[in-house]
Symmetry: C2
Subunit: 209 residues, 2 copies
Amino acid sequence: MSGPNRRAIQKEETRRAVLDAAREEFERVGFESANLRSIAARAGVSAGTVLHYYGDKRELLHAALFDDLDATWRAALGNLGSGPLENQLSRLTAAVFGYYQARPKLSRTLLKESLFADEPWASKFAAQIASVTVEITRLAARAIERGELREDCNTALLAAAWVSFFHFGQISWAQGAYPTPVSLIDHLVRQHLQGLRPVEKQPSTRRAR
Amino acid sequence: MSGPNRRAIQKEETRRAVLDAAREEFERVGFESANLRSIAARAGVSAGTVLHYYGDKRELLHAALFDDLDATWRAALGNLGSGPLENQLSRLTAAVFGYYQARPKLSRTLLKESLFADEPWASKFAAQIASVTVEITRLAARAIERGELREDCNTALLAAAWVSFFHFGQISWAQGAYPTPVSLIDHLVRQHLQGLRPVEKQPSTRRAR
């Protein structure tokens, strides 16, 4: 392998080691108490190297969390099965909350930062949730085709409702009000879908459920 | 008037002057850039006096915002009219957003802090939203009595849905995604209420609307 290639690989390995160390340290002591020297020591590099890659602690937090959370969303969206929509949304909720619940300390910080980050992270987190919204809109359109939802169902508004319930679950959980928000979110989604089901005008033609 | 009474009144006036000055300064330059000396100067007191009452800038932020926001919620809840529920919820949304929209800079900070504050403010903000939730549950129970909602409507879940949509509107607005979230929230509430309307099983007995 040539020298430049090896250097590129080493660079990438260093980056990964720093991000892994950062996630461990943030989860262990919380964002406020975490310091760059401990993270550098954990990653086996100098504090200067960490600063060279990430500038400061907040930048490091975003880099460590964003990629990780992004991978979680992608994996969850790729594993929703074929329906009904209610089950697909429940799977999505459970998968993303699994990520949060495995990292309780980190997630509180993540949540605060993802909802109220400064640029460029504000745009990145906004794009992340926008792509989730687009995907739910598509899932809802397929649910209309399957006859699960009414033809005139506003799919974009349904997606916004799911994001609303999801944020509510996140916030309630981070505040300590609900230890298991997944079931709360499922109930809110079910109640919301009630009004979007096809109207069965003629009881004689009602489908078996 | 006796000396001690006059001192108590002066104290209260000083507190109010400091809180007013803090709100103005936070809105003018943002929470991060605001400094205690400018606030003290604006209130006509020493920085030591401000620190004596409020300890630090974050404490001052919470004291300045919480009372103000609390008064806004109380006034809004006291002025919802007699129904229908959909209109009452729309009035509540508009009144509280009126407060935010009149103070755009302050509100972004307020939002971040009210959703993710540390104690004792976390409990105070949680109690504030809990009392709103209780009030919406009551309004929904009256809507059931009026025949607007089904008998088996879960009023607590409906209240949680309203809070979800309200937070979603707040967050979207603070992120700059929706300049006018009130109408978005109204649409989400309307869609949610669709499934909670009484089932009109017998067209011949359908009420006039």
